[in-house]
Every structure is written in structure tokens, then in C-alpha cells.
């Protein structure tokens, strides 16, 4: 189990406020750029190979690997071994020293198979240092799915070397007002293929994924009265209702599935005071976790499902708290500043990312779940808000107003590789990073 390493976090814990003057980066990822990959041009079983497709596949795998932050891709001009896979069937292992001696850890070789029903890509991943085959696998898709397959292969390469799949083929749900209304959209983790997931022209907010990667829970006013929770299912047109057993006249918002996908945590107002509840999907088995006249909102599960982090202003200003999944053992974990919100638990359980107000704008910080170590992660004179962890825990997605309007950005948890994913169309907010496709 890999853990993030907090390099100067302990130092910073004793120096709260005044975040802007300090270096923003304190967390390093020990796995960052540990490996080098050589990717061959794949063989093609057609009589006349599709050169553009073969090139596109190699480039797709390469750029997805590069974005994984775990791999560096070796320029093919440095290859001593063959640039192109001859054909995968019956081929002996590669001559490993030819690859290891140019610095490669991984060799990716494969064959593209065109068949009447579509496209198949079979590939092998080698650890050329130990000269061991780590994976033999085949993907199927439509002829237009070369990019999709390239991302899946790159994620497999990352998994073969680190034990956790890469995130190139995961998706990010978010809210955009690009149509003039706030609707839910889904895009690939590299910002490509933006799809409208709702188009009801009401107000839609707070997307969150089910662990199966095929469902998105969101908050909507589409019934016309109070907001309540709905469920989008991949490939299904109509959204489903959640909490159908619950009174429609009560506002309900911000639902999140537990790690098993069975129970929801959500916010429901009791006599005008928002409280945190959990229940089964249809609202049965409901448990009220908070009972306070203050605001209690923004529940986010720990990855083991045993605890929740949330926001309460019971002490006079919104602050981050942690409690057991039955509502017991409530502990406040932020004490600096007067506005700490949007907590999200990291996939390895070691950290909680949250947004904090600094002066007139917002930065993203992380803390351990006991509140002992705190460190700024994303800082800028303009606001950065609503963090969401990548499934591998190496990245954060967030919304930022650094270009004026809000857009979705991603950044490595080491503070590097900041990239903007949306732009030019409306305000884009509330990112929710979906699980790795291997989980689907």
C-alpha cells in the first residue's frame, strides 16, 4: 500500500495561516517518473496496414503514459531493438538487453487486428530488466476507438508496474452552465469527449460517482419543487429517482455512495437545518448522523466506509469534521481560518483535501484525518475550489477562476503538471473524478 509522503508537512503544521507566502508544494509522490517505457509500433494484420492508425496508437499510449506521471516514454530513435512488432503470435520474448540497456523498464508490443465486427488490439507488457512478461491482453472496440484503446493499454502498463491502474481512461463529471443552464457533463480525464449527461434545463449540481463507474448521483430541481437526488446510468436515457421513499417537500442535496455502492450519505433539511443522513438507495434504513441547529453538510466517505468527513458551522464558522459512519466520535480537524469546506477523502485514506478561504479567495489544502498535518496544495491569487481525487490518488481535479471564468483543472499531488481541461465554454465547476475503468 503506497502512502503519500509529506516532506515538510510537519514543519508547516506549526505555522498555520498566511499560506500565500510559502511554497505551495509539500507532498511528493515517490512513484513519480520512476519508470521508462519503450513502445513499439504495433503490427497490423491487414494486407495494407493502416499506417496512421498504427502511429496514432503508439502516440496515444505514449501521451497517456506521459500524463500518468509514472512513466517517461523513450524516443523510438533511441531504440536498439526493432521499432515495430513483427507479429505477436509465436514471437519469442524480446531480446531484453537491447531494451534495458537503453534505459527501458517496460516494453509494450502488440498487434492490431481488423475484423468485420470492429477492431481488436492484442498486446504484451514486458519488464525488460527482469525479462518477464507482466501482461498479455486484448481489447475490442469500434474502428474509431483507437484513442480509447490506447488509454486502456497505458493504464494497464501503469498497473503492471505500480499495482494500481493509471487514470487515463477514467472520466470526470462536472457542472457547466455552457448551455445557459447548470447541467451535468462527463469528459475523459484528459478533457476530451465532453458529453452532456443531463439536459433538463433546470438546476443540476454536485455530481458524484458510484464505485461501479456506471452511475452518477446528482442533485436537481427537475421536479420543480425542492432539490432532490437523481441517478444517471451509463447508456440509459432517463435518470432514476433516489430516496423514492422520502417526502418530496424536503430539500435533499449532495449525495455520495459509500465504497460498496449500497448506501448513500446525503444532506436533508430538518426544520430548516441541514443534517447528514445515510440510507439505502430508496431511502429505507435511514439514519440521521448529525443533530444540530447549525449547518451540517458535504459528507464524504473514507475509502473503508467506516467514517465520514463533513462540514459544520456549529462552532461559528464552516470547519471540517470527521465522524464514524454511525454518527459517533465527532471530531473537528480544522481550526485555522474562518472558512474550510468541500472535504474529500483520498483513495488511500491518508489525506483529506479541502478548500480554505485565504483573504478574499480560496485555496486547496490537505490534512491528515486527525488534523495534525496540514499543507497547502493548490494556491493562486484567484480561487481554486472543490477538489476531487483521481482514482489512483496521484492527481486532484478542481475548479479554478485563475483565467476569470471557472474551469476544471487537474494537478499532480506533487504540485506539478497543472493542466486545464475545460475552456472557452461557460463556467465549469464541481468536478467529480470517476473510478478507474477496471472497476467497471
Amino acid at each position: 500500500m503506497r502512502r503519500l509522503v509529506c516532506v515538510v508537512g510537519l514543519l508547516l503544521a506549526s505555522l498555520p495561516a498566511a499560506a500565500q507566502n510559502r511554497p505551495p508544494v509539500v507532498v511528493t509522490d515517490p512513484n513519480a517518473r520512476t519508470f521508462k517505457a519503450a513502445i513499439q509500433r504495433f503490427a497490423d494484420n491487414q494486407a495494407v496496414p493502416d499506417a496512421a492508425r498504427i502511429t496514432g496508437l503508439r502516440e496515444g499510449i505514449g501521451s497517456a503514459l506521459q500524463l500518468s506521471k509514472v512513466f517517461e516514454v523513450i524516443d523510438p530513435r533511441a531504440f536498439l531493438g526493432p521499432d515495430e512488432t513483427v507479429a505477436l503470435e509465436g514471437v519469442p520474448p524480446p531480446l531484453c538487453p537491447d531494451w534495458s540497456q537503453i534505459g527501458a523498464d517496460a516494453l509494450v508490443e502488440g498487434t492490431v487486428i481488423t475484423e468485420p465486427r470492429g477492431l481488436a488490439v492484442q498486446f504484451r507488457i514486458w519488464d525488460v530488466v527482469r525479462c518477464r512478461r507482466l501482461k498479455l491482453k486484448r481489447y475490442f472496440g469500434n474502428p474509431s476507438d483507437v484513442d480509447v484503446i490506447a488509454r486502456r493499454i497505458a493504464d494497464d502498463v501503469v498497473e503492471a508496474f505500480t499495482g494500481r491502474p493509471g487514470m487515463a481512461s477514467s472520466e470526470i463529471a462536472f457542472v457547466s452552465d455552457r448551455s445557459g443552464r447548470k447541467e451535468i457533463y462527463v469528459m475523459n480525464a484528459d478533457g476530451s469527449e465532453v458529453r452532456a449527461a443531463t439536459r433538463n434545463r433546470s438546476i443540476n449540481a454536485f455530481p458524484a460517482w458510484a464505485p461501479n463507474g456506471s452511475e452518477i448521483i446528482y442533485t436537481s430541481y427537475r421536479l420543480g419543487g425542492q432539490p432532490t437526488l437523481f441517478l444517471l446510468t451509463r447508456g440509459r436515457r432517463k435518470p432514476g429517482r433516489l430516496l423514492s421513499k422520502v417526502d418530496e417537500s424536503v430539500p435533499i442535496y449532495r449525495g455520495r455512495f459509500d465504497p460498496a455502492g449500497k448506501r448513500l450519505a446525503f444532506v436533508m433539511s430538518v426544520n430548516g437545518a441541514p443534517e447528514i443522513f445515510t440510507s439505502r438507495r430508496d431511502g429505507r434504513g435511514m439514519k440521521q448522523l448529525t443533530r444540530h441547529r447549525a449547518i451540517d453538510i458535504s459528507p464524504s466517505w473514507s475509502p473503508d466506509g467506516q467514517r465520514l468527513t463533513f462540514v459544520s458551522d456549529r462552532a461559528g464558522s464552516p470547519q471540517i469534521y470527521v465522524m464514524n459512519a454511525d454518527g459517533g466520535n465527532v471530531r473537528r480537524i480544522t481550526f485555522d481560518g474562518t472558512y474550510n469546506t468541500s472535504p474529500v477523502w483520498s483513495p488511500d485514506g491518508a489525506w483529506i483535501a479541502y478548500e480554505t478561504r485565504v483573504g478574499g479567495q480560496f485555496d486547496i489544502w490537505i490534512t491528515d484525518p486527525d488534523g495534525r498535518v496540514k499543507a497547502p496544495l493548490v494556491t493562486h491569487p484567484r480561487s481554486d475550489e472543490t477538489p476531487s481525487w483521481s482514482p489512483d490518488g496521484r492527481w486532484l481535479a478542481f475548479s479554478s477562476a485563475r483565467r476569470g471564468r471557472n474551469d476544471i483543472y487537474v494537478m499532480g499531488i506533487d504540485g506539478k503538471n497543472l493542466r486545464r481541461l475545460t475552456g472557452g465554454e461557460g463556467n465549469n465547476t464541481s468536478p467529480a473524478w470517476g473510478p478507474a475503468p477496471g472497476a467497471r
Binding site: L136, K137, A205, I295, I297
Partner: protein, 181 residues
């Protein structure tokens, strides 16, 4: 992590072995998987339903309620940043609104709480609710029947002025009145 636990994955595996008939020289066969993660060819999230144009609508509420409130002279109440306490100008507005509502016991109004765009959208849902409730409680204390009043929060989702400066924000921190049908 393998997808073979799903029946779709199994089927694809069989398709792989049968239709492609590719032999593999190695000790075991390849793992086989649909590139789109078991779904059909599409990316699976496109909402094909095009919503009807309902300009002037707010979250399923037609423009009539707000227009009726304006005709009756019901005033919007404004708030300080991050606060739900009713200011002096708000108390004056609410006393005037009370006089109007007292004469129209047949009219029911929705109090719509709103926030400016700054800060957590989730917290702003709650803050908008708190503002709407503060207005409701104030009107009830003045003597309006609770049965005439309902509340809703739109958080920061329904600004009346688009902009990123205090002049826009100050007009978005508000509770609007809308007459219910």
C-alpha cells in the same frame, strides 16, 4: 480488476476466442476486454433528450410568480457577505411586504434564498436556506400566517446579476419573493 466478473466480459471473451480464433503461443490466453468498459459502443452519457426552451424559468418555476410579486410590490431582501442576519434595509423592506401580504391572505409566496458565487456551492445551498428561513421567521413574527409562506434555496445557482465584482455579488445575496399559483 479484471472485467471477467461481468457476463458481458465473459461474452466478449468467448467472442474473442471464437470469432477471432487467434491462437496464442504463450502459456495462457490473453485477458480480453471491451475498450469501452463493457458498455455498448457509445460513451454512454449523452442525454439525447433536448429540453424545451423555457427562458425565464428558474428550476421549473415559470416567470409568472416573480412577475406577480413585482406587481404586488413585494420587495427583495439583501444580505451581507456570508451572513443571514436581516439588515436594517431588509427590515424596512419586510415591514412593507408584511403590509402587502396582510391585505392578501389568499396569496401564498415562495421565499427564494440566494448567495453570491464565492465559496463552496454546497455551503451556499445551506446559507441560502438559512436566509430564506430568516425572512420567513421575521415575517411570521410580524404577523404573516406561516401558511402563506414556503421557502426554497437556490444556493449560488441562480444569480440575478452575472458578474464577478462586489456590485454583482451584493445584488445576488438576496431572498426573492415569488407568488405561488
Amino acid at each position: 480488476m479484471m472485467i471477467r466478473n461481468s457476463t458481458g466480459g465473459m461474452r466478449l471473451l468467448m467472442v474473442a476466442v471464437l470469432a477471432l480464433g487467434l491462437a496464442c503461443s504463450s502459456d495462457e490466453g490473453p485477458d480480453a476486454e471491451s475498450a469501452r468498459g463493457g458498455s455498448t459502443g457509445s460513451t454512454g452519457w449523452d442525454d439525447p433528450v433536448t429540453g424545451q426552451d423555457m427562458d425565464g424559468d428558474i428550476a421549473g418555476r415559470g416567470p409568472e410568480g416573480a412577475a406577480a410579486a413585482r406587481r404586488m410590490g413585494l420587495k427583495t431582501v439583501y444580505f451581507d457577505y456570508d451572513r443571514s442576519a436581516i439588515r436594517e434595509d431588509g427590515r424596512a423592506a419586510l415591514r412593507a411586504n408584511y403590509e402587502i401580504l396582510r391585505g392578501r391572505p389568499d396569496v401564498r409566496v415562495e421565499l427564494q434564498g440566494n448567495c453570491d458565487e464565492r465559496g463552496s456551492a454546497e455551503y451556499n445551498f445551506a446559507l441560502g436556506e438559512r436566509r430564506a428561513k430568516a425572512v420567513r421567521d421575521y415575517l411570521v413574527r410580524l404577523g404573516v400566517s406561516p401558511n402563506q409562506l414556503t421557502t426554497v434555496s437556490f444556493g449560488e445557482e441562480n444569480p440575478s446579476v452575472v458578474g464577478h465584482s462586489e456590485s454583482a455579488w451584493s445584488r445576488n445575496r438576496r431572498v426573492d419573493f415569488a407568488v405561488l399559483p
